[in-house]
């Protein structure tokens, strides 16, 4: 599937199937063990943070299984609706990650991202979402370590908040 065509579909599939069936990772409201694990959706740019996550994987650095990555062609492709949809379908936290400013594969995509999400972030907070449930990061393809670090910290923050109920639309 060409990546730019499939971003929305991938987000949709991720949230519908993986989020609700709890995937293989064991995250989510785990009925079996009674322990709750946060579900986190990370929208990652194909050229940087996704590669960063990949690098973390190949160099055997562990990032929490709570993170479900949705690959997008550029952070500029991330529509605020994706964030809302992730929360609707059960995410407890959502992360947006792109190339460092100046390094966007498409030159300027992440500059738009930065403007858009600085507004959206404040607004989500304003309508009553806890500010720690949404965050944005710049992570390059060589920053496997930063990806792992960010993922861990974010997971811990969300864990301490407990399950998100706001906007949740599960059965």
């Amino acid at each position: 599937m060409p990546v730019n065509e499939s971003a929305a579909a991938e987000a949709e599939m991720m949230t519908e199937a993986e989020m609700t069936t709890d995937g293989a990772s064991g995250a989510g409201a785990d009925a079996g063990t009674g322990t709750w694990e946060p579900r986190i959706v990370a929208f990652c740019c194909n050229w940087c943070s996704y590669a960063g996550a990949d690098l973390a994987g190949t160099s055997r650095k562990q990032y929490p299984a709570n993170i479900r990555i949705v690959r997008v062609p550029c952070s500029g492709r991330i529509n605020p609706q994706y964030i809302l949809r992730a929360f609707q379908r059960g995410a407890d936290g959502v992360m947006v990650a792109g190339c460092h400013p100046g390094d966007c594969h498409y030159t300027t995509g992440n500059y738009y991202t930065r403007r858009r999400f600085s507004v959206v972030q404040r607004f989500l907070e304003y309508v009553g979402l806890h500010p720690d449930r949404f965050s944005g990061h710049w992570i390059s393809g060589s920053e496997g370590e930063k990806f792992v670090q960010t993922a861990r910290e974010f997971t811990e923050k969300v864990r301490s908040l407990g399950p998100n109920e706001k906007m949740r639309d599960v059965l």
């Binding site: 519908e16 199937a17 609700t20 069936t21 379908r89 639309d169 599960v170 059965l171």
Partner: protein, 358 residues
């Protein structure tokens, strides 16, 4: 039937008692707007306000409701019908709301298919009507042959008396049972209405009927159906549609509009089928697979709504689907006024009459 007198404190206590055993819907104020909505304390009930914007219908026909629950995970899919649960009370229904329930009953309950959700909700809803304390300029109930004191269709009817107490009439057996139950509970302030309270209630009803009389002079149903019969292709609809923004206000606020959509939602192997309000003013309403749309523009959509209210329903059920509550008149952002449509149709029928007769 029986007539009681209840102080406003007595009514307050009655509502508090009801809250424990039923879902109570009543007029309440939200951000300066009167709406019918669920209340969870008697203090929220606001009976003296204007006609609530959100209509009564949501009690028997909610904005969305689940019809089926499905589990598609197993070898054999499991499908189970969802029945609405519990008892409901709707308090403060205006006469136009009662008329609207009667119209909805015909749609959902008459004929071969009886809508089970609606049936269940209707059977488990106690209706306490309210004689309109005020009559707005947009009200035109009198054009449809009833008025602001007409409690037909309710189980009980409240009338606010000048002193602040309420006159409470029982109109059905179910209403009688309710009052008996309340009396058994010993509600302070609930007593038999004496002759004085009875005549005060009649005077109040006469007063609001006089107020409504003003609109009767301005709006008439005479010739409306006949006029519309010959107006389907009139350029008038395009003129009206030019300024209609094709929103959902007139239909969603209308106490008799009853169109719905049926949708499904699936989360993994589990799924639900629900229905939710829909409106003929939205372009998606008649959009078909493949992209064809038999009502492609606002002209056809707006015309459909007005015909449904003033003509189609009459041909099928012999009465108007508009009950004259005035909500669409008051809230249309572009001042499209169904009363003017009625006047236009009446004028057309008069003109036709002249040409036929000579």
């Amino acid at each position: 039937m029986a007539e009681k007198l209840v102080t406003s404190e007595g009514l307050f206590t009655m509502v508090e008692k009801l809250l424990g055993r039923a879902q109570v819907t009543a007029p309440r104020e939200e951000n300066g707007i009167a709406v019918f909505g669920p209340v969870n304390s008697a203090g929220q009930v606001e009976l003296d306000g204007p006609l609530p914007v959100i209509p009564e219908k949501s009690v028997v026909f909610p904005q969305s409701e689940t019809l089926l629950r499905m589990d598609l995970g197993g070898e054999v899919p499991k499908v189970e019908a969802v029945e609405p649960e519990g008892e409901q009370v709707i308090l403060g229904v205006r006469p136009c709301g009662l008329q609207a329930f009667a119209r909805l009953d015909r749609v959902f309950l008459e004929g071969a298919f009886v809508d089970p959700q609606y049936r269940r909700r209707r059977d488990h809803t106690l209706i306490i009507a309210l004689t309109c304390p005020t009559v707005k300029r947009s009200c035109f109930c009198r054009a449809f042959g009833y008025g602001p004191s007409d409690g037909s269709g309710a189980d009980l009817q409240l009338t606010r008396l000048p002193g602040g107490s309420f006159h409470l009439e029982t109109l059905t057996e179910r209403g009688g049972e309710f009052v008996a139950e309340m009396e058994k509970e010993g509600i302070a302030g609930l007593t038999d209405a004496g002759a004085e309270a009875g005549s005060a209630a009649r005077a109040e009803k006469a007063r609001v009927e006089r107020l409504a009389e003003r609109s009767a002079a301005a709006v008439s149903t005479e010739g409306v159906v006949e006029g519309l019969d010959g107006m389907y292709d009139d350029p008038y609809w395009a003129q009206l549609a030019e300024r209609c923004i094709s929103c959902g206000i007139c239909t969603y606020l209308c106490p008799t509009c009853h169109c719905f959509d049926i949708c499904e939602k699936a989360r993994g192997p589990e799924a639900e089928r629900y229905r939710c309000w829909d409106t003929c003013l939205f372009s998606n309403y008649t959009l078909m697979a493949g992209g064809a749309n038999p009502r492609p523009t606002v002209r056809e959509r707006l015309r459909n709504r007005l015909y449904h209210k003033l003509n189609f329903f009459n041909h099928r059920y012999g009465e108007f689907l508009c009950v004259g509550c005035g909500r669409c008149v008051e809230h249309c952002p572009t001042n499209i006024d169904i009363r003017k449509v009625m006047a236009k149709a009446a004028a057309r029928s008069r003109a036709q009459g002249v040409s036929v007769n000579g």
